[in-house]
């Protein structure tokens, strides 16, 4: 099965890259964009077949490596 991990900076942590993207969009005339947050998506191919166990494993991977929980939050989709 597959897991998709979304890693984002936590709310309240300034995202300078998102801000730069927002400015660039404004320069292109998209003046309705009020905020941009940039994160990353990590896709994992898993040999695990039990969705519950897969989620548990991927949660642990996020805590140990995939996200830095000092500044980032994560969410996991299993499919």
């Amino acid at each position: 099965m597959k897991a998709r991990v979304h890693v984002m900076l936590k709310p309240g942590v300034l995202d300078p890259q998102g801000e730069a993207v927002r400015h660039a969009l404004g320069a292109l005339g998209y003046d309705t964009v009020e905020g941009v947050r940039q994160g990353k998506v990590i896709e994992l191919d898993l040999s695990e077949t039990d969705p519950e166990k897969a989620r548990k494993d991927v949660d642990a991977m996020c805590e140990k490596l995939l996200a830095n929980t000092v500044i980032e939050s994560y969410s996991v989709e299993i499919s």
Binding site: L9, V13, L14, P16, Q17, A20, K64, L65, L66, N68, V70, I71
Partner: protein
């Protein structure tokens, strides 16, 4: 004094660090990241600057989980001295030996220049050769030096006088102008500026000399 300098794929300040330590009088061993054990009888581990593992995932994230870093964590927990400069500071935050995290510079640019650093505490083996509030000139060269941490962790650093250096003029957006921080036992120091690039008469500044000299002196006395 016996020192080890860690080497990761992508480290690029490892030899400069070794030269600075040797010049100050240390016996230096280079240690590859896949090694599981540090040399016996070690006093100091230095984690150098560079781009370990190409900064993949996050700066210092992969290196922080490498086999040798497990030994470095044990070494620090036993009271060993650990210095992390630039990418080494990022690695130390990723291991959890130091609080906080280093994010992309607020101005989004790689900043490479000499900066004024204020010595905020002389109560550590790394900073005892300076005078408190002394401003020294040390180079920085980083893209991700924007130090960020929770208000509680920041209050703890301030209350325990664990901020070792502050920038005179903030180059990267770091909280409270922080350039370097100490662990609770004051034996682990992480800093973005490069003291090892300010030791030789051919360098623009030699303000890094007291940094290594005091470290050597403290080791000789313990």
């Amino acid at each position: 004094m016996r020192a080890a300098v860690l080497v990761f794929p992508g480290s690029n300040c490892d030899r400069d660090m070794a030269v600075a330590l040797r010049t100050a009088g240390a016996d230096v061993t280079m240690v590859w990241h896949k090694d599981t054990n540090l040399p016996e009888g070690l006093d100091v581990v230095a984690i150098p600057g560079g781009f370990s593992f190409g900064d993949y995932l996050r700066c210092g994230a992969i290196a922080g989980r490498s086999p040798i870093c497990r030994s470095v964590i044990d070494f620090a927990n036993r009271g060993g001295f650990v210095l992390g400069v630039c990418n080494g500071f990022q690695i130390l935050t990723e291991t959890g030996l130091l609080p906080g995290a280093l994010m992309r510079n607020a101005g989004l640019k790689f900043v490479c220049k000499s900066v004024g650093l204020r010595v905020e505490t002389t109560e550590s083996a790394f900073t005892s050769g300076y005078v408190k509030d002394q401003v020294i000139s040390i180079p920085i060269a980083h893209h991700d030096g924007n130090y960020n941490l929770s208000p509680d962790d920041l209050a703890a650093l301030q209350d325990q006088h664990r901020i070792a250096f502050r920038y005179d003029a903030n180059p990267n957006g770091s909280v409270d102008n922080i350039a370097g921080v100490l662990s609770e036992n004051r034996r682990v120091l992480g800093m973005m500026p490069h003291p090892e690039r300010a030791v030789d008469p051919a360098h623009p500044s030699t303000d890094g000399q007291p940094f290594f000299a005091s470290l050597l002196e403290q080791m000789a006395n313990t």
